[in-house]
């Protein structure tokens, strides 16, 4: 019995009127954990009840503590009929289970009902006493920290990065159980919310176990997703990167350790690797799935396509033997791992050595029914049975899902190998499901890593030093990892424009963030490729086959668009590339987003040339030359807009580029015979290889048009989908995170690919324009981490969901800094290297966290009498004293603020908060909500319904963070927003899944004040009223 959970219900406010006669409510609360339920007294006739209950105590396994959510139900007492539920609050107590996170959850939570939305608030205090349990065979993994952040969290240092962890859990979807026919929508929704909450808890616990096995103490870049497979069930799966993290200790250490804000910001998206080109494969041409399942398990794989940029020669002279050595070392470190994957997108300095390019794999699967043994049922609100542990059971269902993913990962791994890389970074997985067809996708960036972080300090220093020496600052990651003579794809190589020693490709595609030490010219920008393909409606295998036949073409075209748009911007590298393929009943959609930049190390991109096939016609030629001029003008304009003026390097210095194979890149439509015209038309980019666009067929014509119709953001606006915008570094503190959703209905008549493309393109462009307009008061500002998600909820509906954050910056400073930016980054890079050398290697050996359990929690209890401690102060005290002493600090220094204005909680998809320092991570936030209505019109139609729901989701996230004592959520992501409507029945339903890391941050400006005179109580927390004593 290793844990005691204690819950106190303090008060409620703003409750709805439940008794029409008196216009009041007789409310009481049920507190439930596992199978135990407590009730408060009924507080008669009040909309603001003060229960001030005793402490309800639950004695539970720590396994349950991890899996189960605390469930609080507010009800209206009714003497003559059944009590009416007002709403519920689910509290994930996981953050209380590890020592460094929150110690108490206390605050106002919105009371949520899946039919009515938020109905008032309830003030709750939750604590956990954990007893240390030395049982080696325990099933729990308390103490493992989880982070959504895809870089090493601030205020931690990575001692070892162990690598990939994954797990999935399967269950029947309550919505599709027979019982759903007889229960109310509310009961069904609640069963679903609860089930998913349980499954996530279980999943997290299992992943935690794997981490402990690897001797790690944390999961970074934790990404959990749901696959709503409908009839065939519900899959919850997660991936992450196991690490051993070391807390940067005292608060004093923060200042030096993390440096000034601006610098720190840069540190976060740390060293990233470079990659070039992109190599993608899907599984597709039909191999009917092997295996016993025959038709049920139908799987198609697509032949591997390799595209991309160019790549090339093996490294320069000195590279040879050293590289081999390095490779060997890394290989041995990585070979023990089944999948040398990392979900991180930003890395500690020196971690990333080279980047090979994007690797991706897709596979089309047919879903089959998951046979659920009856006892897995989760009935109503009571959980009478443990979830089935699929792995230990002999049902092969999850095996199937596991096998599917394993297959894809294997493929990714082999692609990486083909690129001369042993590892994949910036790795992610996704699915798109329509009826019984499911496309599984995985992508990442092939890379060569520094082995130092990967194993237990066995790497000796000398090699390391050599690595440092050999890695020129700011360009090392661009150097090709593969063999020049044995290139995996056709590519143009040149000597690096930065160090001139090693070869680089001419274009680099990656899924990671821009490494901080990368030297960039000018600013970056968001680039999107958008594509639709009609597909015949079909069933089962025929459908899957049709889809897999389309996939390679889609990938190819997406890639072509990206390449063209990149050239049009006059840039040469893509970061944060994310290609999403969505499947619908009668179409496939592809949306790729990335941040384009000009890397100083790569050659200047060539222009785009247009060629016609029939040079005879005069007017036609005129037309072509007109187009050509337009394109060239656009390129010139873009260069100006994004301040791309790389230092001119004379040919001599570069030396004659590698004997160039005289063929032009054949990425686009094959080069035409009319090369004469081409040269003639080449207005300004003669020196470089230009892309050649043949506009003979209408398709291409359309491509050219769409190239030119992308409107740049209005002046003062920048956008990117990476953490920060290359070329801007003086962020000011104003941030605005938002979610925008649009659904359009296509007119079903005469849909053609072209019309579809245009609609889709307009949809995305208009959405962006709206964002720019709405946020115009923040200018100058940058939309960061712009994340588009496309779904096809019905035949003729396209839904696009965007989440991003707008951050203001100081324009004047920007101008100054960009000038010196290059020099600075060089300097910085060199200092980084120095720091690296001091990296204490000894730390690597004690990888097991010494105290998986917070030993001092009981102490805290006995010290009690802590309540409304403002977050900021709490942070300080916690840092200051060992957990033992903590209690002493927590006197009631802050009287509960009477007029508790709600504390501000910031939300951002980024891993940092501009102008502020994150002092503490309080735990992961992972929430799943369902909202349903049967009075859609009354709630303002679909827009009104969804607007209110998203606002409520934000509110619930903020409330949970505030209750943990935090004031921000970083790495926030809306992973799912499934919206279904039935206007005829006046109904709609929406499911939303969000996650992020709850943190405490302190403004740079306040930081000094606080560190000198600590208990400066600025009352941030909406205080938990009353004393919190046992």
């Amino acid at each position: 019995m290793p844990g005691k959970l204690k819950v106190k219900i303090v008060a409620g406010r703003h409750l709805p009127v439940m008794d029409r006669a008196s216009d009041l409510t007789d409310a009481f609360v049920e507190v439930k954990f596992g199978n135990t339920t407590f009730k408060t007294d009924v507080y008669l006739k009040s909309l603001n009840p003060q229960w001030n209950s005793e402490w309800f105590k639950f004695e539970v396994d720590d396994e349950d503590l991890q899996d189960e959510p605390l469930q609080i139900t507010v009800l209206d007492h009714d003497t003559y009929s059944a009590n009416d539920a007002i709403g519920k609050v689910y509290i994930d107590i996981d953050p209380l289970l590890y020592s460094e996170a929150a110690t108490v959850i206390s605050g106002w939570f919105p009371i949520y009902d899946t039919i009515h939305g938020i109905r008032g608030e309830i003030n709750v205090v939750v604590k956990v006493d954990l007893f240390n349990d030395l049982n080696r065979f325990r099933q729990s993994s308390c103490g493992v920290k989880f982070f959504c952040t895809t870089s090493i969290p601030k205020c931690y240092r990575a001692v070892i990065i162990h690598g990939f962890v994954e797990e999935l859990v399967v269950n029947e979807d309550p919505e599709y159980q027979w019982i759903d026919r007889i229960r109310t929508p509310r009961a069904s929704n609640e069963a679903r919310q609860r089930l998913i909450s349980l499954m996530s808890g279980e999943l997290q616990r299992k992943i935690g176990l794997k981490v402990l096995e690897m001797r790690g103490n944390a999961v970074v870049g934790y990404l959990q997703c749901f696959d709503l497979e409908g009839e065939s069930g519900l899959v919850v799966r997660a991936i992450g990167t196991a690490c051993t993290l070391d807390k940067l200790s005292s608060p004093a250490a923060f200042l030096p350790a993390c440096n000034s804000p601006s610098k720190e910001m840069k540190e976060s998206p740390l060293a990233h690797p470079p990659s070039h080109g992109c190599r993608s494969t899907h599984n597709s041409p039909i191999h009917t799935a092997t295996g016993s399942r025959l038709t049920q398990n139908f799987s198609v794989s697509v032949p591997t396509l390799i595209y991309t940029g160019m790549g090339s020669g093996s490294a320069g002279k000195e590279g040879g033997p050293f590289k081999a050595l390095l490779r060997q070392q890394t290989q041995s470190a990585l070979e023990q791992r089944e999948f040398p994957f990392f979900t991180l997108t930003a890395f500690p300095p020196g971690f990333l050595v080279h980047v090979g390019g994007v690797v991706s794999a897709r596979s089309v699967k047919l879903l089959d029914r998951i046979h659920n043994p009856a006892f897995v049922g989760i009935m109503g609100n009571t959980r009478s049975y443990k979830l089935l542990d699929w792995n230990s059971f002999n049902s092969d269902e999850p095996e199937t899902r596991d096998a599917w993913w394993a297959e894809i990962r294997q493929e990714i791994k082999s692609h990486a190998k083909a690129l001369g890389c042993h590892a994949v970074v910036g790795y992610s997985e996704s699915t798109s499901i329509c009826e019984e067809v499911c496309i599984l996708s995985a992508s990442g960036t092939a890379a060569v890593l520094n082995p130092r972080f990967l194993q237990d300090g066995t790497v000796e220093g000398c090699l390391e030093q050599r690595i440092e020496e050999n890695l020129p600052a700011g360009c090392g990651f661009c150097h090709i990892p593969y063999d020049e003579l044995n290139m995996p794809f056709p590519a143009h190589l040149t000597y690096c424009y930065n160090c001139r020693k090693q070869k680089v490709p001419d274009v680099l595609f990656t899924t990671i963030d821009l490494p901080t030490d990368a030297t960039v010219v000018g600013k970056g920008c968001l680039i999107q490729a958008r594509l639709c393909r009609l597909k015949k409606k079909a069933q089962a295998e025929a459908n899957a086959t049709a889809i897999s036949n389309l996939l390679p073409f889609m990938e190819y075209e997406v890639h072509t668009q990206l390449m063209n748009k990149l050239k049009l911007k006059g840039m040469n590298a893509l970061f944060g590339l994310r290609i999403q393929i969505t499947v619908g009943e009668n179409m496939l959609m592809g949306l790729a987003s990335a941040t384009a930049v000009y890397l100083a190390a790569l050659p200047m991109p060539g222009g785009i040339q247009i060629a016609g096939k029939t040079p005879s016609d005069g007017s036609y030629e005129q037309h072509i030359s007109h187009m050509q001029k337009k394109i060239s003008d656009t390129i010139a304009k873009n260069k100006e807009l994004y301040e791309i003026n790389p230092p001119e390097i004379s040919e001599e210095i570069i030396g004659s580029p590698i004997p160039e194979p005289k063929q032009r890149s054949r990425l686009l439509r094959s080069q035409s015979e009319s090369s004469d015209e081409v040269t003639e038309l080449d207005l300004s980019h003669g020196k470089k290889d230009a892309f050649v666009l043949e506009i003979d067929d209408t398709d291409a014509m359309e491509d050219v048009h769409s190239l030119l119709t992308d409107v740049p953001p209005p002046s003062g606006f920048y956008s990117c989908n990476t953490e920060i915008m290359p070329g801007i570094n003086n962020w000011t503190s104003e941030i605005q995170m938002f979610t925008s959703v649009r659904v359009i209905r296509l007119s079903s008549l005469n849909l053609t690919n072209q019309a579809l493309n245009k609609n889709f393109n307009d949809l995305c462009e208009n959405l962006l324009k709206s964002l720019y307009f709405k946020l115009r008061s923040m200018i100058p500002c940058c939309l960061c981490h712009v994340n588009f998600t496309v779904s096809l909820p019905e035949d003729e509906l396209i839904q696009v969901t965007v989440t991003a954050v707008a951050i203001t910056f100081d324009k004047n400073q920007a101008l100054q800094t960009t000038k010196t930016h290059i020099e600075k980054s060089l300097q910085r890079a060199s200092t980084d290297n120095e720091e690296l050398l001091q990296f204490p290697l000894e730390l690597c050996s004690d990888s097991l966290p010494s105290h998986p359990f917070p030993p001092a929690k009981e102490h805290l209890e006995s010290a009690r009498s802590n309540s409304g401690i403002p977050a900021a102060q709490r942070a300080v005290t916690v840092e200051k004293a060992s957990p033992m002493g903590e209690g002493n600090f927590r006197n009631r220094s802050a009287p509960p603020c009477a007029n508790s204005t709600v504390g501000v909680v910031k939300m951002t998809p980024l891993s940092f908060i501009p102008g502020a320092k994150i002092t503490k991570y309080l735990g992961i936030i992972n929430m799943f909500f369902i909202r349903e209505t049967t009075s859609l019109r009354e709630e303002g139609g679909v827009s009104g319904f969804l607007h209110a729901f998203i606002a409520e989701v934000f509110a619930m996230v903020r409330a949970h963070v505030a209750a943990l004592g935090g004031n921000a959520v970083v790495s926030y992501i809306m992973k799912q927003c499934v919206f279904m409507e039935n206007p005829n029945k006046n109904q709609a339903q929406c499911l939303i899944n969000v996650s992020g890391d709850a943190v405490i941050f302190v403004r740079e400006s306040e930081l000094e004040v606080i560190s000198t005179q600590q208990p400066t109580a600025n009352c941030q927390q909406s205080c938990a009223g009353g004393e919190v004593t046992t």
């Binding site: 406010r13 703003h14 106002w108 919105p110 938020i118 608030e121 209005p714 605005q736 995170m737 938002f738 979610t739 925008s740 959703v741 649009r742 659904v743 359009i744 209905r745 296509l746 007119s747 609609n759 307009d762 949809l763 208009n766 324009k769 709206s770 964002l771 307009f773 709405k774 115009r776 509906l797 839904q799 007029n899 508790s900 204005t901 709600v902 501000v904 909680v905 910031k906 939300m907 303002g940 679909v942 827009s943 009104g944 969804l946 607007h947 209110a948 998203i950 606002a951 409520e952 934000f954 509110a955 903020r958 409330a959 919206f979």
Partner: protein
């Protein structure tokens, strides 16, 4: 291609002041879009009409959701759904409860009942304010009235506390509530020249001096009768005012009063002769107003009477404001020298307020 759904939700709720104003003014989305276009926003920002439409819809939806909270402003502060900086919250509240001068003049002193609400169409047509906006303003008055109606203590303070208004707005609402409660007539043609500000000024003086609350926190009778301290005029005081009648009824007293005033003002007043000629009429007017206040009907006509009996006669003789002030000061002070008059305190309570009101009402 039609947009089925189009929303934008910020972690911090975006409030566009311009759109908020249009919404409060009761314009439909399409009217608001047209007005924004006319204001030149497209040229300034390079946006398209579709973008503007979507933006306006979004803001309207947000305001619609906020409206429920605005009905009880403390809720806006404590709610968790919309994260709005305090300064913006204050702005939302202040603007929501702001009212149009033209509208308030139409409604001031009327019973805030369903009947009045039905007349809003006419008011809308007359003032050019949209019906929607009229309804909002009317409902605001009524809501505030309902909430503070039964409360003890200072009217303005109660309003401020329950609606979180600025000082200025709270005082305006106190006046509106006070007028509505006492049903003062303000719509007569004679009174058309008066602004809301004039009435609000008078209301404040009357609340300060003529209500139960004015006598001091503890009228020493803890019975429930005393509940609406600031809302209702002090009945006892009104009864007592009858005693003042002696000032005009007693001929000697009246003559003495007149001669004392004339002596004091001789040479100081530009309109001395007119004053001298009119003194008895004016004095009769002022005292009779006081004496009549026992009847509700006459209380309602207070302002009509004041204008008829005092403002108009003086105005027709072209008294300058300075002379009016001198006269009124002297007129009320001199009463203290009338030995036969015993109700000095009563006189001061009545006359101090009345003098303030008259001076405010005396303009063109």
């Amino acid at each position: 291609m039609t947009s089925e759904l189009d929303i934008f939700v910020g972690n911090t709720t975006l409030i566009d002041e311009e759109v908020y104003r249009l919404w409060l003014d009761g314009y439909s989305v399409s009217d608001a879009v047209a007005l924004r276009v006319r204001a030149g926003i497209l040229e300034q920002t390079g946006a398209t009409a579709a973008v503007l439409q979507s933006d306006t819809m979004d803001h309207y939806r947000t305001f619609h959701m906020l409206e429920r909270l605005l009905h009880a402003p403390p809720k806006l502060l404590h709610q968790l759904v919309f994260q709005i900086p305090p300064s913006r919250q204050a702005l939302l509240i202040e603007r929501y409860y702001a009212f149009d001068e033209a509208f308030v003049r139409e409604v001031l002193g009327k019973k805030l009942s369903k009947g009045t609400k039905k007349d809003l169409d006419d008011i809308s047509a007359k003032t050019g304010i949209t019906l929607k906006s009229c309804r909002r303003q009317f409902d605001n008055f009524k809501r505030v009235f309902k909430v503070v109606e039964e409360m003890r203590g200072s009217l303005a303070d109660n309003i401020q506390q329950h609606f979180l208004f600025s000082d200025r707005l709270a005082r305006d609402y106190a006046a509106i509530v006070f007028f509505a409660n006492n049903r003062f007539e303000t719509a007569k043609k004679k009174l058309q020249y008066l602004s809301f500000g004039d009435f609000a000024f008078c209301a404040e003086l009357m609340i300060q001096n003529w209500t139960l609350g004015a006598v001091g926190e503890a009228p020493s009778k803890p019975d429930s009768q005393v509940d609406d301290m600031d809302m209702d005029l002090d009945k006892e005081f009104l009864q007592d005012l009858k005693e003042l009648k002696v000032l005009v009824a007693d001929k000697d007293l009246l003559d003495l009063h007149k001669s004392l005033v004339c002596t004091a003002l001789r040479g100081k007043l530009g309109v001395f002769s007119e004053m001298e000629a009119n003194f008895k009429n004016l004095s009769r007017g002022l005292v009779n107003v006081a004496a009549k206040l026992t009847h509700n009907k006459d209380v309602r006509d207070l302002f009509v009477d004041l204008v008829e009996k005092f403002v108009e006669p003086c105005r027709s003789d072209h008294w300058p404001l300075g002379d009016v002030r001198l006269f009124l000061n002297q007129y009320s002070v001199t009463v203290h020298s009338l030995d036969g008059f015993r109700h000095q305190a009563l006189w001061d309570r009545y006359m101090d307020t009345l003098r303030g009101c008259l001076l405010r009402l005396y303009h063109d």
